[in-house]
Symmetry: C2
Subunit: 411 residues, 2 copies
Amino acid sequence: MTAVEITFVEGGALTSVPGFQATGVACGLKKDGALDLALVYSAHPCAGAALFTTNAFKAAPVLYDQRVVRANPAGLRAVVINSGCANACTGEQGMRDAEATAAIAAELLGIGRDDVLVMSTGVIGQLLPMSKIKSGLFAAAQALDSTLEGGHRAARAIMTTDTRPKEVAVRVRVGGSEYTIAGMAKGAGMIHPHMATMLSLIVTDAPITAPLAQKALAEATEVSFNMITVDGDMSTNDTVALLANGQADMPPIVQEGSPAYQNFCQALTQVATFLAQGLVRDGEGATRFVEITVGGARSRAEAKQVAMSVATSLLVKTAIYGQDANWGRIVCAVGYSGVEIVPNKVRVWLGDLELVRNGGPYQVDEARASAILAQTDIPIRIDLGLGAEEATVWTSDLSHAYVDINAHYRT
Amino acid sequence: MTAVEITFVEGGALTSVPGFQATGVACGLKKDGALDLALVYSAHPCAGAALFTTNAFKAAPVLYDQRVVRANPAGLRAVVINSGCANACTGEQGMRDAEATAAIAAELLGIGRDDVLVMSTGVIGQLLPMSKIKSGLFAAAQALDSTLEGGHRAARAIMTTDTRPKEVAVRVRVGGSEYTIAGMAKGAGMIHPHMATMLSLIVTDAPITAPLAQKALAEATEVSFNMITVDGDMSTNDTVALLANGQADMPPIVQEGSPAYQNFCQALTQVATFLAQGLVRDGEGATRFVEITVGGARSRAEAKQVAMSVATSLLVKTAIYGQDANWGRIVCAVGYSGVEIVPNKVRVWLGDLELVRNGGPYQVDEARASAILAQTDIPIRIDLGLGAEEATVWTSDLSHAYVDINAHYRT
């Protein structure tokens, strides 16, 4: 098998991928005049793939995009993303507004309506102010930019309570050919699989069929976006989409299981994981990035269930915020996870410190624990002692700032 | 059917029930010198019933009591409850300490070891300081008191982060006979069914068999303690126990479905509900008491699942703390509850204000909503429009004070 080389592109953005243009404009959806409308455009038709929230209340743009991806999986050309208004729980008018957004963009760009995806994020239950969207799209279509700055502006325009943009690009070199995968994403609350409250758009110039793109996106998402939680709330708008314009000079990726497909999956997973971890690091009020790995499980599903139980425990999250090595709360959350465990087989590590062995306290060195908890990144490892499967999830701590942000989100 | 009259006893305590003595002493488990050891004693053998946490990590006193209730369901005489140390995740030494606690109490009281239940609440993973327990029990056995003050002291001694004791007594009059049911409970974090992090002891002089007492306790708990959530964390120590000394002058309750049994269940449910609601009202950092009723469900189980999804949503809880009528977060939590719903049939009321109809905004009167959210008690009603079943759960808001309390619990 040919060696594959995957390298991060410094300062990468969506526009690191040849053939993509992007921009972000301010159209008045955000009160503070910040960028709030992103437009991404591909000069060539793209194979498209997308995954959506499993929330029963799906926002209008989610329902709309599901239809478009089904109808036109190989001809996508543009994505419109607005922040400040989720266009969720907005009924038939909301659906008409999503359709109109796509139609306006299509007309401005001279492409078909079914070539355009739309995404929205922000407050639930308010109608999109369509005149603002319309003038914003007009400005954005003029401002489309193939330089890095265009991508950076798009990444900033999709932010809500995010404090910084999340974007990344990787270059893949394998057997003389080269392609790029780049992505952007936004959090930062209502983050819980499947999916997190998040929007993410990933683009590539790799030539790949739509069905394989969908499969690769599902694989990558399962170990990245679906393994993060900030607050356990799953939103109405979560969307991750992948557009592949096929412009890289290489044989197309057409077969699942082929080395080319595996390389693509690996690189795509790196991009998705980088973005997913970025969402957690910038989670609402987050002061810590917590990596929870559960091993020794009978199955990956059980490992994930236990890890998520710990990751969503308010008591674990507040203890980490308080830099308190309260391992009792960790084993407690393991105990109520719903997975059948054997208490006295459970081991828990905080960093290199084995806090719990045989279900009871072991190396409870408070000084060392405090030093570990003073780090920005907190690794927690749990071994169930029941099997060989494992899973890793990422979460943030629960701070005063989370309460600040969410007590007065709409005001 | 004879009319039953159930009245609250003003200032009631466990010792409102004839035949029960109680007290609380300070034996040094709490750093601030507050009461931390409760002893409850019955002059007569009691039929006993108990329900325990379903957490896989069961604390030593839970495992111990499960054995005692099985071995001696009709002869219980005393309950020892300590706060400050949960005796959980303490291995074999923890079990020996639970046994020793019961043995010391039995010797001091001149009863059998198997006549004594023990309960613990506090920090997980620390061994019981047995010399303190021993001297505390010695003092408590001397101080047993059949006046109200004895019951009040016991209720204060079981508190951890509770800000006030939770106790209640009701008198039941039916067909010329009269009996009393009284209970106490403690919260105030790690509150989530089944059970909440809670200890509760209920006593009565009603004559009832142990199997019927168990059945009645399960029925009452299902609509009271199992319907509350503060933070979604289920503890290792949750226990609710019922002791019935049979001293009331009335025919014994021996048949399920009999009017006497139904009256008993009704009164017991009142006691349990009062205590459960008291736990939520005094939940860690709580500034609001939120009653969430989900109706129009296909089954009670689905109604409860939806109500719990809303009740545990951090975004709903922080919005209520911030007095923000963010109904979008409510429908979002309905949407990810896992229950199959039809979005456009969903209606949501905040008090008398119908915020959501047909899955979208309806009477969104922000001024009226703000007035309702300024109340201490916040009623939320959700109608799924799918059936005739309903369920009610109680929760608190999520405040800065919750984070304060839990970031530094052990220090």
